[in-house]
Amino acid sequence: MSTTVLYEAAGPKARLRQRIYTAVSVVALLAIVVWFFWRLNESNQLSYDKWEAFVTPDYLRVILVDGLLRTLQMAFFAIIFAVLFGVFFGIGKLSDHAWVRWPSWLVVELFRAIPVLLLMVFTWYTLGIKAENSAFWAVIIALTLYNGAVLAEVLRAGILAVPNGQREAGYAIGMRKTQVMSIVLLPQAVKIMIPAIISQCVVALKDTALGIYVVAPGLTYVVKQVYLEFHNRVPAILVVGALYVLVNLLLTALASWLQKRYVREKKPLDTPPLGDVQRR
């Protein structure tokens, strides 16, 4: 339903009222923005020495290369592994054999239900908190397990969304179960899944920021060093937030472009909610 059916084309009285609402909200919004910057300025957060680190090329290089690039690396590895994990357990959930189906269901349900941070702390201690790169891999493993479980659900929905005739045609020309899955169903399901995979990339990228709890490298870690040196915590928060938003918006734009270019499917995949026993 488009929103325009919710109200009539405005008459003279309503137009006046809407103009008043518009004026009031513009003033309120402007006041919030002005107040925000005024208070930042009052508390001395806009002075040059607070922002120096973010405009000096050397620091900028460290933030972007040791910070952002390392964060993107973690998200990238996590998504690649998560897709593999998702394919494995998503197909497992569709298996004809109960002894494959049930464990897959359990794994997917479990990792969807527990917080990434809990997983991250556990994998960090398992890899050894003093071991080299343990925090880096703890972030990747935790994100893989969580996003993989979500993608398993998406993949399952994607395979079920492929028209039934495709599967039947595969069996009719004498293909085996494995062949029908890998040659007929999976390629079509993956195509439908592309936008969901990319929106999961956004989730994974956002969750890399949790690495701060296990002292993982990446953007939050590097910027923490910066604000400990420059005592500019507030500008640091704003810069990190802006960088994350920027990268995520680029990913979202990519997703909608791919959707238009390759998928042309308007309907989002129908994944069952957690704990929905009827549809496992």
Partner: protein
């Protein structure tokens, strides 16, 4: 298993904080999100635009950054936002500044997802319903509150349930900012008994699974009870 069994009081207290965080932020985020959704589909273009900017920004910011903003930036903007004035003690639970900052961050973050879920619910209400409501002369507020929103709420129970389940899991981020909820308790017990880390992890994972499954059970009941024929 001893590590958890010997500290059962800490275990339940930690999950008490998790549930408290979830309940308070859940209710607040629903109220805020409904307000945002009304702005988002309303007749004032400036508010539509502002809400969409807000939702896009918040949805693309990591929750940790939202928490950091409310723990370190907000007090600088306006003194009372440090929440030092808050100190409520109920039973053995202390609700202090850390708890308040966590509730504010979680509520604002989740409200943007609630807004999107409700908007998809509004889109699921058939056009005829709104047209009929306008035909009998209801103003925008009447169309929304009497006809569209009641149906939209029902249609958006499944997405809203997913949003609230995500909130249950997101309460763990409060651990990073000093609330002694389940994940932070798990880390500190694991730190003391690191040889029993697997048992500790399983015990805390079960706690979260129980909360999530209990919530989804009620959400599913509500959905089947409320399902409308469209």
């Amino acid at each position: 298993m001893d590590a958890v069994l010997d500290n059962l009081d800490l275990y339940f207290k930690a999950f008490g904080y998790t549930v408290a965080l979830f309940l308070v932020s859940g209710v607040t985020s629903m109220i805020l999100g409904t307000l945002l959704a009304a702005f988002r589909v309303g007749p004032v273009p400036v508010l539509r635009w502002a809400t969409s900017v807000y939702v896009t920004l918040v949805r693309n910011t990591p929750l940790v950054i939202v928490f950091a903003a409310f723990s370190f930036m907000a007090p600088m903007l306006w003194g009372p936002l440090n929440f030092r004035w808050l100190s409520v003690h109920i039973g053995g639970f202390d609700f202090t500044a850390f708890f308040a900052a966590a509730v504010v961050s979680l509520s604002l973050y989740t409200s943007s997802f609630v807004c999107e879920a409700l908007r998809s619910g509004v889109n699921a209400v058939s056009v005829g319903q709104a047209e009929a409501a306008r035909a009998i002369g209801l103003p925008f507020s009447g169309v929304m509150s009497q006809v569209v929103l009641p149906q939209a709420f029902r249609a958006s129970v499944p997405p809203l349930a997913s949003v609230q389940i995500a909130l249950i899991k997101n309460t763990s981020v409060a651990a990073v900012f000093g609330v002694a909820e389940a994940t932070s308790q798990m880390r500190s017990i694991t730190n003391d008994f690191s040889s029993q880390r697997t048992e500790i992890f399983i015990a805390f994972a079960i706690g979260y699974v129980v909360i999530v499954e209990v919530f989804s059970f009620f959400a599913a009941r509500l959905e089947s009870h409320w399902r409308v024929a469209r």
